[in-house]
Amino acid sequence: MTLRDALGWLLVAAAALYALVAVPAGGELTTMINGSIYASYAILALSLALIWGYAGILSFGQAAFFGLAGYVYAVAGLNLESTPLAAVIAVAAAAGFAALLGYFMFWGRISDVYLGVITLTVSLILYRFINQTAGEEWTIGAAPLGGFNGIPSTPILAPPGHPDEPFLPEQIYMLAVGALLACYVICKLAMATRFGRAVIAIRENESRAELLGYDTRRYKLGIFTLGGAIAGAGGVLFANSVFVSPNMFSLQTNGQVIIWVIVGGLGTFAGPVIGCFLLMALSTWLGSLDAGPGFAVLDPNLVMGVVLTLCVLGLRQGLLPTALTLGERLLAKTRGRGAAELGQPAEERP
């Protein structure tokens, strides 16, 4: 473990401690609810960081799994006694759907931009479909799909065996932060295995990896399925923080995730999470400025668009890798020779 890794884990631990101890101590309910939403979005960002940043699979429709899991959770939760079981079913459904879609794409030898277009299309198919389910006929058991209104009666998770005592918003918040932390650790561990190394090799040069005897399709399918499951976990938590609505699949949600990952830093796990929190905070802040006449120009879409374009044009590595590189340079200057061994160079964008 390099010094940089150790420092990274220390920072993650500090952030987790802050989120799990200091924020609840403040006690503001709106902060907790917002915190749950941020955390569930951050899990979504993490899932894209995994499959795009590490496996080089640009999924332009990662929100498909997020939304699908949310809806499956809501429908299963309204029909079953146990909400934890519904959550498990939802994550499994997202993973299963990702596996199916992945099989379709990777065995069809679809790559690059085509992957992006297909995943985006799939997400928009779900969006269109769910949006038109307003009628009575679109009811699954006890769950009306609700069309563009979503399902406002999305059930809240309850401890196993106590379906009548759903978690409070504070507890959902703790759960969401805990899940974010767990997903981060899972991603890190997955990349540390032989499997993870092979995935990175495929990202770097697919034909070379294939010549070395790896069936690259299987590895891509594996990582894509894991990404789908993680996005699904984010979706279940989002359903518990707000409620499920077609917006979970929308073009805007899909775009936002991409922006978080790009801005935070492709090829890292912490970067996209940071990007997600920063930009969510920024758009919340911009949204709250609606009344001021001078701020009317600062439409959230406009700001996000400009941020994304500038990042692609200028800050090619994203915030976190740029900050790390700058920090290392600074350190190397003060320490002189030898400090360059501190960490590996920031990973290249695939």
Partner: protein, 288 residues
């Protein structure tokens, strides 16, 4: 009999509509290998350009056929210079950057016009066919689409400009060796694609109305049509429009219009599983 005719006409209109909204994107993707995520917004801007100039007193036809393509073409020229030019050859980065541009354009238009739907009332009337009727304006857009593709074919196949464009499209370096400035060809192509999108957006505005976020409605359909079509610009867009438009119409009639769209997208995904290079990657390979 009347019913069969109306179904047939509806089918032709759907196919033409698909071809129309994809044309500008096909030009830019086919020639420059750039996925223009701001394509939907180009259509939206075309609609607004026609709306605003018409409200300012311009004749509706001039607003649609002149003001809209010129305005969007100019916007395209500015974007090419500011953003696209820096990203040639980096396909995924252009996709991301144009996505950023698309969001920014939605933002700007929302600030200027507010987040609501504005409309231009569709001109002309409708023609009765037995007990049914079909809008004359919709037939007109179909005719314009046909002319647009014929014109594109003529320019590419029969003119010097078309020859240069095809040359640069096939082998950029070779064209540069022969004295063609690829940067100029690319800039012209992008502006042409933008202008066509502007015209398309203005043409469909009276049918659908315009709103800042309307680009999102078209983007997936336009994309999937162009990608399903493959690399040949005209044949690709037409064959994919014919196939996907038929699926759309069939499902719309049997089920609902929304499920028709869902079926269109699903069919395209299935198609790409079978033909990853698009229709013209396998068939009509030597066409335009």
């Amino acid at each position: 009999m009347d019913y069969a005719l109306i179904v047939l006409l509806q089918l032709v209109v759907t196919i033409a509509n698909l071809a129309l909204i994809s044309a500008g994107l096909a030009v830019i993707f086919g020639m420059m290998r750039i996925i223009n995520m701001a394509h939907g917004e180009f259509l939206m801007l075309g609609g607004y350009a026609a709306l605003v100039s018409h409200q300012a007193g311009l004749n509706l036809w001039l607003a649609i056929f002149v003001a809209a393509p010129v305005t969007v073409g100019l916007i395209g020229a500015v974007l090419e210079r500011l953003v696209i030019r820096r990203l040639y050859g980096r396909m995924i980065d252009t996709m991301l950057a144009t996505w950023g541009v698309s969001l920014a354009l939605v933002g700007v238009v929302t600030v200027i016009f507010g987040n609501r739907v504005s409309g231009i009332s569709p001109p002309l009337g409708s023609v009765p066919i037995g007990g049914y009727a079909i809008g004359l304006y919709e037939l007109l857009t179909t005719g314009v689409t046909a002319l647009l593709f014929l014109g594109g074919w003529y320019v590419l196949r029969r003119t010097a400009v078309g020859l240069i464009a095809r040359g640069a499209m096939q082998n950029r370096d070779m064209a540069a060796e022969l004295g063609v400035d690829p940067a100029k060809v690319y800039a012209t192509t992008f502006v042409t694609g933008a202008a066509i999108s502007g015209l398309a957006g203005a043409l469909i505005a009276p049918i659908t109305g315009v709103a800042p976020s309307i680009g999102a409605v078209y983007i997936a359909k336009a994309f999937i049509t162009v990608i399903s079509g493959g690399t040949a610009i005209l044949t690709g867009a037409l064959s994919a429009s014919a196939l996907l438009g038929s699926v759309n119409t069939a499902f719309s009639f049997v089920m609902t219009p929304v499920l028709g769209e869902v079926a269109l997208l699903a069919a395209a995904v299935l198609l790409l599983r079978v033909l990853p290079q698009g229709i013209t990657g396998r068939f009509f390979r030597r066409s335009l």
